[in-house]
């Protein structure tokens, strides 16, 4: 199906030099003010038929701020690649002049806000805009383009109730008008006579008549007879079309109007009607293809409904591409991975600009995507919104590391840094994923010697480095080199495992032994052994320690430990990891 396959923006609002590859549907996530709405507006400059000439004539404020004094003289350029334009003959006819690639049937459309030809620009008044196809700036879009391909935006702050009531803008209008057009004369007569009857019954009520009379009298008293349009109090205008238009949607078996519905229900109803209307106008041939952009669909919807609604969009077969902007991890996490677009702000000269990361062109293979999708669904997609991520192996780390950080004075929550457990040691998909969305990360992993010639943890780091450094060759370097190269990339390791590292601290050793004793103290053989460790009578036997912890449950153990952590006992490799991620965010 036809879809936008690439977006490029230069010098527009948040965007200096922005370029992303995209898929059929887009779910645009990013922090507030990063430019999500501006990205949609950039698309609308090209695609939305409802934008006016004045809207398309931008202003000096629409230039990227990093241009500073060079705004006048610069050009704002937005271009879209649209793939599979041969999906229908109409889109092919309209877009063929913009063809830039034959294999993918891709056409390019560009909006440019630029100084008028031959004029040395002194102010924004010397600017004009053009929209052209392909690479030829004289190849303006044909008039039929606006009808063939459209974009519609549902604003974040939409007032569905009002939209539904406003008869000119309500999506119901088209359906109702079609009804009145197709009424037979007989039907019209019978409707009008029935209406007349009700009206006559109402007219015969004196008190209704009084109201109108009172209003008219008052009007005349205030402004005199010359300026008054006298009023009647009637059920509806007596025109058959207007009568049909006055039909309204009711809820709860016709007892209540929509204004009495919850905002959530009104929103769903509104979106549903809009969709029906889109389908209708596509069937009528009024348009061929629609890009439907919805800002913050989560605004008024229950999380569960959010998912259901947008699952519908993703799977819809209609001639429709959906573009969502969202803060909601619920929507982000249920979106197909390839539709995610993450916007991030980066330093750019003396200013900052927004970069886009999309998974449409990432190196994730099918298994990776499955892994990541599962992870995102379970964790509700939090890491999509993170500024930095600490990747850890399992539950123990997930419990202990935040506490360790807090004790060191790091406020990761405030900084937007998440801790993410990969539940095992398969870091690879996470590494690929985070690199694709441009999020910095650090990895804390165990060395796991396991009596192997090369510890398994070192092999793990060696392989990860192969993913992260283009020229890196895995399997040839000695351990020391791997560790140093790993640290440079933010991968930190210990000598054995987290627990064994912790027990090396005398203070922690006592706390750990206490926890173990609380669980195992009553056991005939075990209790005394732990006591001996605690009293430094024998060195701690690592395999036994790990076994005892396992018997409690690593997570449970970590949770208890995290509650009692003293200050200043964090293992050095974890501190390095904190410093690393802290410096990058």
């Amino acid at each position: 199906m036809i879809h936008i396959s690439r977006i490029k923006i230069e010098n527009f609002r948040n965007f200096h030099n922005f370029e992303i590859n995209t898929n059929r549907n887009m779910v645009i996530v990013g922090e507030n003010k990063v430019g999500k709405s501006n990205l949609l507006f950039a698309l609308r400059l090209i695609l939305d038929p409802s934008l006016s000439e004045l809207d398309r004539l931008l202003d000096i404020d629409d230039f990227w701020d990093g241009l500073e004094g060079r705004k006048v003289g610069s050009t704002i350029k937005i271009s879209l690649d649209i793939a599979n334009i041969n999906s229908s003959t109409s889109t092919l006819a309209v877009l063929a002049d913009g063809l830039i690639d034959v294999q993918t049937h891709t056409a390019k459309i560009t909006y440019e806000f630029k100084p008028r030809d031959g004029v040395t620009p002194n102010s924004i008044n010397d600017y004009e805009y053009i929209i052209y196809l392909g690479n030829n700036t004289a190849n303006f879009i044909p008039r039929s383009f606006r009808r063939c391909i459209q974009m519609e935006l549902f604003h974040a702050l939409r007032d569905c109730e009002r939209e539904l009531k406003n008869s000119n803008r309500s999506p119901m209008r088209a359906f109702l008008d079609e009804v009145s057009e197709n009424l037979t004369e007989q039907q019209k007569t019978s409707i009008l006579s029935g209406f007349q009857q009700t009206q006559t019954a109402l007219d015969s009520i004196q008190s209704i008549d009084n109201i109108a009379t009172n209003i008219n009298t008052m009007l005349e008293t205030i402004v005199g007879t010359n300026h008054v349009s006298l009023v009647d109090l009637k059920l509806a205008p007596q025109d058959i079309n207007k009568l049909v238009r006055s039909l309204q949607l009711l809820i709860d078996s016709g007892v209540r109007t929509i204004s009495q519905a919850s905002t959530g229900s009104a929103n769903i109803l509104f979106l549903t009607l809009k969709l029906l209307k889109l389908q209708h106008s596509i069937q009528q041939g009024d348009q061929e293809f629609t890009f439907l952009a919805i800002e913050e669909p989560e605004a008024h919807l229950h999380p569960h409904v959010q998912r259901l609604l947008f699952d519908y969009f993703y799977e819809s077969e209609a001639n429709l591409n959906t573009l969502l902007t969202t803060h909601s991890p619920h929507i982000a996490s249920s979106a197909p991975l390839s539709s995610l677009i993450v916007l991030k702000e980066h330093k750019d000269g003396n200013s900052s600009s927004t970069y886009g990361y999309s998974l449409a062109s990432s190196h994730l293979d099918e298994n990776d995507i499955e892994d990541m999708s599962r992870y995102l669904t379970v964790t509700r997609g939090e890491i999509l919104f993170s500024r930095g991520v600490i990747l850890v192996e399992g539950d123990s780390e997930e419990f202990l590391i935040p506490e360790l950080a807090k004790k060191l004075g790091y406020e990761f929550d405030k900084k937007g840094i998440s801790i993410c457990s990969v539940a095992g040691t398969n870091f690879a998909p996470y590494v690929k994923f985070l690199r694709s969305i441009g999020t910095p990360f650090t990895i804390i992993t165990d060395r796991d010697p396991l009596n192997l010639p090369v510890p398994i943890g070192i092999t793990r780091i060696d392989e990860l480095l192969g993913l992260m450094i283009p020229a890196y060759i895995s399997g040839v370097n000695p351990e020391a080199t791997i560790i140093i190269a790993g640290q440079a990339q933010g991968i930190f390791t210990n000598t054995q495992t987290l627990e064994t590292e912790l027990i090396n601290s005398p203070v922690l050793k006592i706390i750990i032994c206490d926890i173990l004793l609380e669980e195992h103290g009553d056991r005939l053989h075990v209790g005394p052994i732990i006591n001996c460790w605690k009293l430094n009578q024998v060195p701690v036997d690592m395999p036994s320690l790990l076994r005892y912890i396992k018997e409690i449950g690593k997570g449970r153990f970590a949770k208890r430990l995290s509650n009692r952590l003293p200050t200043g006992t964090c293992p050095a490799y974890i501190i390095s990891s904190f410093n690393y991620i802290n410096s990058l965010t």
């Binding site: 041969n86 006819a93 063929a96 063809l99 030829n136 009808r147 061929e288």
Partner: protein, 609 residues
């Protein structure tokens, strides 16, 4: 609009016009002279736009010459279809360039330079001469016409191309190479490249079908083999083709035109064949004489049943000069025969531009103004020279009283189209032009034609002069300027005369047989009807005598005679001397033109009936 064209269509005749108008699929319309084919075509286009085209699609109306294209545009404008977004009207070359090559060729490796321009006449000649020099003596006597013919006949660059005529294959290859080295393409390239793109890429056909589900081609008999191949490919791809033409009027054999291609098309099972059999133009006796003059008799009848034309031969024993003198006298006399008839209703037809020189010279001596169309004309009609004439027309004619003048907004529109690519501030240029035209209009009695045209060129056209694409057209503007000089051939032409180009003007038409195609006149006066002049004879070295050219060549000349004969609404006069001079100046008496003999035979037959 719908009502308008439907109402007009009610007047179409049952002798072919209605059938063409109502045809539902592919259609080949065989339309003789004066059959009202353009009218039918225009209404047909309106019908297709109304019934078959959605808002994303277009109908392409393609003609072979700029002149036909202009005529078609004017006629479409008359029924309100001038600015329809779903209509493309253009020459075959502009269609190939704007709809196929420039949007699509860069997507495949076509061995085209990254930027290229259309070669001017001079550049084409230069490249041709370079190619000849490069090959050496063996190519010394090669002509452009023969090379063109070879190039447009052997379309695939394969063994057949290389071996059929090694010399010409070599010449074509070198010529194209010289063009490419200078980042140039010529008009034939546009067609050959388009053909290659369409033949080799299905997606190109898909795009053409999406954009142009219906293509109407006028003057189909002028198309050569490559264009015909394109048409067949498009038909097979599902594009609906409406081809209109007249086999009998195929006179461009030297550019590779093949009249039988239209016949082939009309005989295909997926084509409806429509013959138009009513002649609205000519008198009954001319219609009867001309029907079947070239090929088979089609049974054409005349609309003007009671109009009988004078068909006269005039012998001028003193030769060509006498023919010209007599022809001019005849022209002046003919004007007086019918009230309301003016000089522009009369045309003197001659075989070549050299004869045209004599006619123009003698016409000037008689104080006549003329409209001359041949290669030696003071200037050729093209968008630029026509624009200058229109400006002259606007400042000298009262647009309220006479229906002769052009409106200022049309001038501005044309001007904008001409300059918008070459100037930075279009609005300013328009403002200056309008100021200049108003000033000139106010001080009309103070300015000369030459000063007006010079100022127009120097102050308002100068941007065009610098542009490569305009070189050919602009050189005609300079020729126009020169001929209006004190010592130029048009020095006595007033601004009023220069702009007097619409119907009923006082300019006599001087035109070659070739250029007269597509025109019509009240009275046709043709000169040079002698064997050796028209048709030219060839010397047979074995029989020591002058002979008619080969059958195919003679047949083409016969069609040319047919064209001349069928231009007339009323009378036709033929002038002859019954001898000719060889290139060495020897006088040879080979009698009147063979075509007059043939006409005689038919006249006798007609008399017998």
């Amino acid at each position: 609009m719908a009502n308008f064209y439907q109402k007009e269509a009610e007047e179409l005749n049952d002798l072919g016009q209605k059938a063409a108008f109502n045809s539902a699929g592919n259609c080949a319309v065989l339309a003789g002279p004066g059959s009202g084919k353009t009218k039918t075509l225009v209404l047909k286009v309106a019908k297709i736009l109304d019934e078959n085209i959605n808002e994303y699609e277009k109908v392409a109306c393609i003609t072979y010459s700029r002149q036909c294209c202009k005529e078609l545009q004017q006629r479409l404008k008359n029924i309100g279809l001038s600015s329809n977004e779903n209509l493309y009207v253009g020459t075959v070359h502009s269609f190939c360039l704007s709809q196929i090559i420039s949007p699509l060729a860069h997507l495949v490796d076509m061995e085209l330079p990254a930027t290229y321009s259309i070669a001017t006449e001079k550049q084409r000649n230069d490249c041709f001469n370079l190619a000849k020099e490069h090959i050496g003596d063996s190519a010394k006597y090669c002509s452009t016409a023969a090379m063109t013919n070879y190039r447009m006949s052997y379309l695939e660059r394969d063994e057949v191309f290389n071996s059929s005529d090694i010399l010409y294959a070599n010449l074509v290859t070198n010529y194209e190479q010289f063009l490419r080295n200078n980042n140039l393409v010529d008009f034939d390239d546009l067609i050959l490249i388009s053909r290659k793109l369409i033949t080799e890429n299905e997606w190109v056909r898909d795009i053409l079908k999406a954009k142009f589900p219906v293509i109407v081609i006028d003057e189909y008999q002028d198309l050569g083999k490559p264009l015909h191949e394109i048409v067949l490919l498009l038909v097979d791809h599902g594009i609906r083709i409406i081809a209109v033409g007249d086999v009998d009027q195929s006179i461009y054999g030297f550019t590779g035109a093949q009249p039988e291609l239209l016949v082939n098309l009309s005989e295909r099972s997926d084509f409806e064949k429509v013959e138009m059999k009513l002649n609205y133009r000519s008198a009954k006796n001319i219609v009867n004489l001309s029907d079947g003059f070239v090929g088979v008799k089609k049974g054409v009848s005349a609309h003007n049943q009671d109009r009988i034309a004078t068909i006269d031969y005039h012998l001028c024993p003193n030769g060509l000069d006498e023919q010209v003198d007599e022809a001019l006298k005849k022209a002046l006399y003919s004007v007086t025969l019918l009230a309301n008839r003016t000089l522009s209703d009369i045309a003197i037809l001659y075989p070549d531009a050299k004869t045209g020189d004599i006619v123009a010279q003698k016409a000037s001596e008689l104080g006549l103004f003329y409209n001359r169309i041949d290669n030696n004309a003071p200037y050729r009609k093209n968008p630029l020279t026509t624009f200058i004439e229109d400006c002259a027309s606007w400042i000298t004619h009262d647009w309220q009283k006479e229906h002769k003048s052009i409106y200022l907004n049309e001038i501005i529109k044309t001007f904008t189209n001409l300059i918008h690519n070459y100037t930075e501030d279009v609005d300013l240029s328009i403002l200056n032009l309008v100021k200049f035209l108003w000033t000139s209009k106010n001080i009309l009695h103070l300015i000369t034609t030459e000063s007006f045209v010079s100022e127009l060129i120097n102050s308002h056209f100068s941007v065009l002069n610098k542009n490569h694409e305009m070189v050919d057209d602009f050189s005609e503007v300079l020729k126009m300027q020169n001929s209006l000089n004190n010592d130029g051939v048009l020095h006595n032409v007033s601004l009023y005369m220069l702009g007097d180009n619409r119907a009923k003007s006082h300019k006599l038409n001087l035109i070659t047989y070739h250029s007269s195609k597509g025109c019509e006149y009240d009275v046709v006066i043709a000169i040079g009807l002698d064997n050796g002049v028209f048709p030219k004879l060839t010397y047979d070295f074995t029989a020591y005598q002058w002979c008619y050219p080969a059958d195919k060549e003679l047949q083409e000349k016969r069609r040319l005679f047919f064209v001349a004969l069928t231009r007339a609404k009323y009378d036709v006069h033929f002038f002859k001397s019954e001898y000719f001079f060889t290139s060495k100046g020897a006088k040879k008496c080979y009698g009147q033109s063979i075509f007059l003999d043939e006409l005689d035979k038919r006249l006798i037959l007609q008399g017998a009936n």
